[in-house]
Every structure is written in C-alpha cells, then in structure tokens.
C-alpha cells in the first residue's frame, strides 16, 4: 500500500532526517524522495510503502503532525490513489 508524504514549509536543518526518522520508527519504507526549494519554501515529496507499518494510518498522520510542528513545517501523509484519481484519466 503506497502513500505520499508531503512536507511544505520554511527550510531548516534536519527536516529530511526528522521525517525519515518517523518512517524508520514505524516501519514505513521510503521508496522515492524528491525535494526542491522554491523561493525559500521547502517542498519535499516522499513515496512510501505503508504495508508493514506498525501503527494505523490515523496514528501515523499524528506522528507526522507532531514532527511537522517541531520543525515548523506542514507534513501530510495521503494514500497514493488520491493523486492517481485526480491527475490521471
């Protein structure tokens, strides 16, 4: 089961490490990472496999919320099907 983690906010040191840390703790496998900085805004997208995740999806979202608050960025985790539905015919 694939999900997409998006991180948007002001660039600071250690964002990638923080998000990757949450993934490692919850047994979420990171498959792909892209990141860019557009006019000072940090945008990172991670495609992850949550099949073997040790906690349920709502709890995973809460972990990312807490990590986001700590780093001052907005982190969302969303099932991949949403993007497929909206952007592919």
């Amino acid at each position: 089961m694939k999900a997409v983690v998006t991180v948007v906010g002001r660039d600071t040191v250690g964002i990638l490490a923080k998000v990757a840390g949450v993934c490692a703790e919850t047994n979420v496998n990171v498959e792909e990472v892209t990141q860019s900085i557009l006019s000072g805004t940090f945008a990172m997208i991670m495609v992850v496999d949550v099949t073997a995740c040790t906690i349920d999806f709502a709890e995973l979202q809460q972990c990312f919320n807490a990590a986001g608050e700590e780093k001052g960025v907005d982190i969302k985790v969303t099932r991949q099907e949403l993007y497929d539905a909206m952007h592919h015919i």
Partner: protein, 453 residues
C-alpha cells in the same frame, strides 16, 4: 508515475483553497417502515436509520484521514415522510420529525433530510398533514430538513401548494424568531426536485431509489477561483471555460474516489456524485468571487448571468467526464448567506433579488438563503415561489426557494445563523401585491415541450 507538480497542486487545493468533499449522504428508504400505528412506524424508522447509518460517520472519517480529503458533512436523506404518514391512523407528523432528529443525532450526522412531500400535481393522504406541521416540526427539532416539491415540467405547478407554502415559510420564521428565524433556513420549496440530491436542506430519498445508497456532494469554488486567478490572465472566455472544466474534473475525481471508498467500506451501493460548486462563508470559498475573477466588478452587475451560465456548464462538462454516475443538483449554487462574495454584493447594492432570479435560470438551484424583511406578506413569498417554479418548469431544470423572513428586521439589518448557513443582509423585495393571483389557486398546466422560443 506521480508528478511533483500534481501532488503539490492537490495539497495546495486542500490546504489553501478550501477544497473538500462537502457531504457524504446516505440515502435510506423508509418504505418498509410504513405502519398503521404511527408510534410503531416511528420505532421502525428509528431502528432502520440507526442500523443502516451506524458506521457512516466513522467510515467517512477513516477515509478522510487516509486520503487527506476533508469530508465536511455526513448526512442522511430518507423517503419523503408524507408517504409514511399516509397509511397511519391519526399520526402526529411532529413525532416523525422528532424520531428523525433523534436517530440522526444517535448516529452522529449533522443533518437529516426528508421531512418532505411531493405534491406537484396534487395532494394525497399525508401531504397536507405534513405541510401544515412543517413550522412546528422545524421548531421542535435541530437537524431535520424539510422540502416540498410543488411543480415539475411534466406536471405543471400546483398553485394550491404554492399558496400554502408562503404562510408556512412565514410561520416557520415566526415561531423560531428567538433563534434567528432558523426554521425556514431548513425548508426548501422545489420545482423538479431531484430524488438523489445529497445537499441540504433539499435532500430526500426518492421512491425510485434503492434501499440504501451513498451519494457524494463535492465542493470547490475556492479551487476554481484560485485556478482562474493564477492562470486566466489574457484568456478569452472559451479558454476560461476550458480551465474551469479541467479544475472541475479534478474536484469531481476526488469526490468519486471518496464516494467509492465509503460505499465499498460500508457495503452500500454508490449512487451519484453531485457536481456542485457549493460555497461556504469562508473567505475565498465563494461562487460570487469566481464570477468576479472572470472580470465582473461585483457579482450582480450586468454580465453576471452570462458568466454564471459559462461556469455552470463548464463545471458539469468537467465533472461528467470525471464520474461514472452524476446526479443531484449538479452545477453552481448561489446561496446568499452562505457565500462571502454574495453577501458583499448584496450589501453594496450590486445584487438584487430580481438579478438572483435571473441567475437561477442558468444555475443549478434557485433563490437560496435569501433574507427578506420581517414584514414580507405570505402571498409575496408564495408568488416568489411561483416565479421560481415557473423558471424551473419551463426550462426543464430544478429550481428552488429557500428564503428567511427575518422577523422584526428591515432592509439594512442583518441576520446571522452561524456555521455553514452563514449570515446576510435583509434584501429588498417588490412589495406590490400578487394576492389575487395567488388566491386563485388551481394548477398551472405543464408547458409545451416544442416550439421553444
């Protein structure tokens, strides 16, 4: 393959442009709850709703969390209650309304629609009883919505019902005057009412629908406005329509996905996606602002009807491609008190009731959430209903009236309902009397379907 741009666009639409699924509505047939004994009928209704919709809110919230899509409302629509009053001996319709209210609160939804009657061609057993009880039923309950279909393209307009509904709307306002006249905000008078509409206050579960079904109403005026703001500079109107279509496609695909998931997880068949641009009082989430983004100084000025026609059509064209079943009201809603741009336009004098009436000829519904002076005579309200019904009947479209006489208030005052129902200014309405016309009663015959000019 996922594209970064697409992902960020979706996140942006949800986080900053108020994109959401406005409602997941479970339609429940109550036909098998009919009983001669009204108390027994109410017991069956309560049991059926609380059984069928037991997991609706929980499942909708699970889907919302997993897919990051806000689902603002979870609602229930039921078989028009007049049909269940018909076989009862001495029923009290308010008891039925209280039953709906209690069942809906038990399962945690925020509205239940279906305190309704379909009287486009005349009254049958139960219809008059239900209509007469509407003000009391709406005052005695919190989340029950009522709707009456008084006309259709096939049947014409039941002017006896129209004459009844003006006083009912007034009375509903009078007995809830202490609660910001909330009664009539939960009451819609329709022509050509759709039987699968997921939006309140007009939702009911038509007799042709299956036993239980999931409908979805999408939203997204904020996303359409933002797309126009970012990309429409220099575009001609054909290109603007194309841009609206593309955005509506994405919005609708999201609704279809959510509908499929909720229906699958509940084991209930999927009904339709209602392709509606439904505004909220939140800044930027406004249909009026979409029209203004196309180049109007203020919604209501000349050009508004044309801009709305373009918007309404493009939303449908984009949405139809994105969904396998489309239904409900589908189009752009133009409620005044629920749309910050409409409120501003009404306050600055740009938007009048007459212009709103013209707009309803090309939009998805009608004169919606319009606040009238508190002393507006009942026959004026009836005549406004007749005018709207005539537009719907002749143009083979749904039209509706949901107006709120603000008891004790005049033009220049405001009325605040709070929440999604919003607030708005009391609007000026023509005071010349249609009393004799309304007093004639009878039925306006169904219109010719050829020689269209």
């Amino acid at each position: 393959m996922l594209d970064t741009k697409d992902i960020l666009e979706t996140i942006h639409m949800i986080s900053d442009e108020n994109l959401d699924v406005r409602t997941v509505t479970m339609g429940i047939s109550l036909l098998d709850c009919a009983d001669e004994d009204p108390h027994r009928a109410c017991e069956k209704i309560y049991n059926k709703i609380t059984t069928r919709a037991k997991d609706l809110v929980k499942v909708a919230e699970e889907v919302s969390t997993a897919y990051g899509v806000p689902i603002v409302n979870k609602r229930i629509s039921v078989t028009p209650i007049a049909m269940l009053l018909a076989p009862c001996k001495n029923p009290d319709p308010v008891e039925f309304a209280r039953t709906l209210d209690a069942a809906a609160k038990k399962v945690g939804v925020n509205f239940v629609g279906g305190f309704s009657a379909l009287v486009q061609k005349g009254f049958s057993a139960g219809d008059r009883l239900l209509i007469d009880s509407i003000p009391d039923a709406l005052a005695a309950t919190d989340i029950v919505c009522s709707s009456i279909n008084i006309g259709s393209t096939k049947a014409g307009i039941n002017m006896d019902a129209v004459a009844l509904m003006g006083p009912i709307v007034r009375r509903a306002a009078e007995i809830t005057a202490q609660r910001n006249c909330i009664g009539p905000a939960k009451l819609v008078v329709f022509c050509n009412a759709p039987e699968d509409n997921p939006f309140m206050a007009g939702a009911f579960h038509g007799p042709g629908e299956p036993d239980c079904v999931i409908h979805v109403g999408v939203s997204g005026p904020g996303a359409v406005r933002a797309a126009l703001a970012k990309q429409s500079a220099g575009m001609d109107l054909g290109e603007v329509a194309e841009l609206v279509k593309r955005t509506a496609f994405k919005i609708t695909r999201m609704g279809q996905l959510v509908g499929n998931l909720v229906s699958e997880r509940l084991g209930v068949p999927f009904g339709i996606v209602d392709l509606s641009l439904a505004p909220t009082p939140a800044i930027g989430d406004s249909v009026a602002n979409v029209l203004e983004e196309m180049g109007l100084e203020s919604c209501g000025c000349c050009g508004t009807t044309a801009a709305l026609a373009l918007l309404n059509d493009a939303v449908k064209k984009g949405g139809v491609m994105a969904s396998n079943f489309v239904g409900g009201l589908s189009g752009a809603f133009i409620p005044v008190s629920e749309d910050a741009g409409m409120i501003a336009a009404a306050q600055c004098g740009s938007l009048s009731i007459e212009k709103l009436e013209a707009m309803t000829a090309v939009c998805s519904v009608g004169i919606d959430m319009v606040i009238l002076p508190g002393d507006t005579p009942a026959e004026v309200i009836s005549a406004l209903i007749a005018d709207e019904a005539a537009i719907g009947m002749v143009n083979s479209k749904t039209t509706a009236v949901r107006v709120i006489p603000a008891i004790g208030k005049q033009v220049g005052d405001t009325l605040d309902f709070g929440g999604l129902l919003g607030w708005g200014p009391v609007m000026q309405i023509n005071r010349f009397s249609p009393a004799k016309f309304i007093g004639r009663g009878g039925r306006i015959p169904a219109p010719l379907q050829s020689l269209k000019n």
